[in-house]
């Protein structure tokens, strides 16, 4: 089981702040593919140019990251500053 957090416009586009998900292990790309396969809305909201970074256990990852069972995964849309 992993916990996924959504930020910015993703919260509205996906209709949720967070969710829990059964997880057999894999990478951040595996997770994004799995989520995009939920339907056109998900594929559009999580298109590659809409995902800036993935955060695993509070650490911002550059590129593809391993996600262990039990992890907290934040999905960050492009940041827009203050």
């Amino acid at each position: 089981m992993i916990r996924i957090l959504y930020f910015g416009f993703l919260r509205e586009a996906l209709g949720r702040d967070e969710e829990s998900l059964d997880w057999a292990g894999g990478t951040s790309e595996d997770l994004l593919s799995l989520l995009r396969a939920r339907g056109d809305d998900w594929a559009a909201a999580l298109a590659p140019d809409k995902v800036f970074r993935v955060v695993v256990d509070r650490e911002i990852k550059r590129g593809v990251a391993e996600i262990a069972d039990g992890a907290e995964v934040g999905i960050l849309p492009p940041v827009t500053g203050g």
């Binding site: 509070r58 911002i60 960050l76 827009t80 203050g82």
Partner: protein, 155 residues
């Protein structure tokens, strides 16, 4: 380097923060401060407020990482960053950056470096609320990416 980073809803009082910083800044000859405020006429429609959100814990860590990177590039003695989140009405302060250093060039460069990063890489998301009641999420600006890119080219 003395360093203090806060992300919060509450407003900041720059005079208070300046006094705290100077007490920790040692024999610093230069203090540079930046304050960002919500503008009413930044885009096409008159703005009523900004709504800012962040990733608690992660955002503070990112800002600290950036501040330590600044301290490696320039000889800083003290640095204070406050970034606000939540609903911020036009005219309210959004961000305060204070940097103390022995000399002015280092203090200016570090403050501008921090601001470029805060505007382009730190995990903040911004929704604009217009005076007609409508609102939308701001999209990332290419010009801000270019501003932050300057520093990478020099690294």
């Amino acid at each position: 380097m003395w360093l203090d980073i806060t992300v919060r809803k509450a407003a900041f009082v720059s005079a208070y923060e300046e006094e705290r910083l100077l007490a920790e800044a040692g024999d610093a000859g230069a203090l540079v401060g930046f304050q960002g405020r919500v503008r009413g006429q930044d885009g096409e429609l008159p703005l009523a407020a900004l709504h800012l959100e962040h990733y608690p814990g992660v955002t503070e860590d990112e800002i600290a990482r950036i501040a330590h990177e600044a301290a490696q590039r320039w000889p800083l003695t003290a640095c204070r960053v406050i970034h606000r989140v939540g609903r911020l009405a036009v005219g309210e302060g959004i961000v305060l950056v204070l940097v103390a250093s022995g000399h002015r060039a280092a203090a200016f460069a570090a403050a501008e470096f921090l601001m470029d990063y805060l505007k382009t890489r730190a995990p903040f998301w911004k929704r604009e609320e217009f005076i007609d009641g409508s609102s939308h999420w701001v999209e990332a600006k290419a010009s801000d990416d270019a501003a932050a890119g300057r520093w990478e080219a020099q690294a």
